[in-house]
Amino acid sequence: MAGLKTIIVLSFILAIGFLLVILSSALFKNYLTLLVVATYVIAPVPNWLCGKAQSQDDFMDSGSSSIVELGRFMTGFLVVMGIALPVVLAHCDQITIPAMAMSIVGGLLIYGTIISFTMFFREQEEF
């Protein structure tokens, strides 16, 4: 039952995140902030793909581990990009400062949900 509660809480947080990002774009009639959602949605993809690429190789192969590290590098890149993109847009007067703050908070909530969901399911698979 604890798992059910976690799912409910996570879905609420995800909904709040999407609400913030959509408000940040719709309130100011400027839909550039939706790029943050795209960034955070594709942020876990390199890690996932590279993890799949590693599992097909041998365990002690050193080449597979660098593929995993490439995935981690790209994930770190994309996560910071999700914060840096609204900041650059606001600095260059493409979006307003409140829209920047709302999209950053909303994006972090969305990404936090994705990450906690992945960790939750990984824990389930181990048992």
């Binding site: 581990s65 590290e69 770190g76 650059v88 260059c92 007067d93």
Partner: protein
């Protein structure tokens, strides 16, 4: 050979022992993530300067063009070269399979990578001084030049962090393998 790490602790040069967390897997992963984050900051500092200088907020006559990106491109190529090299090839004499001067070739390619990266940093300083400081740029116009230098320094820092975490990983797998 399990006590390999302990032998290295005994032969340590410094008074203080190597902290235990330096060899953990989590530190390596955090280092790689941090490296990606630093690279992202570097890229977006450059993008911010470019977009701002070509947008309507820019009051000065100075604009970024392709010339300002050349040092960053060199830094990025250097980082790519440095981190593409298999680090175990550098100590070629300890491995039987790496004959025919593989270690020498690796060192030459590595030198070219470091040269590209240092050239990128020097180019960043050059562009900042020649294009902005000598023109008497102030405020946001000066930021265009400082952003160039900052982006190249951040790419270098990102490369250093990635290199250090990869070397940490080598120690870790070595201890695991023996």
């Amino acid at each position: 050979m399990i006590g390999n790490g302990d032998d290295m602790e005994g032969n340590r040069l410094f008074k203080f022992p190597k902290p235990q967390w330096l060899n953990s897997a989590n530190t390596r992963n955090a280092g790689v993530y941090l490296s990606g984050a630093l690279f992202s900051i570097a890229l977006f500092v450059m993008i911010d300067a470019t977009v701002y200088s070509n947008g309507r907020l820019n009051g000065s006559d100075l604009h970024l063009n392709f010339v300002d990106w050349i040092p960053s491109i060199f830094s990025f190529l250097g980082m790519l070269v440095i981190n593409s090299i298999d680090k175990t090839r550098l100590s070629g004499d300890t491995f039987a399979y790496s004959g025919d001067g593989v270690a020498w070739k690796a060192k030459v390619v590595l030198f070219m990578g470091f040269a590209a990266m240092a050239g990128g940093l020097a180019g960043g300083v050059t562009v900042m001084v020649l294009k902005y400081v000598t023109e008497g740029a102030t405020g946001m116009s000066l930021w265009f030049g400082v952003a160039n230098l900052l982006a190249n320094a951040l790419v270098m820092l990102s490369c250093v962090v990635l290199w250090v975490s990869q070397n940490m990983e080598d120690d870790y797998t070595y201890n695991l393998a023996l």
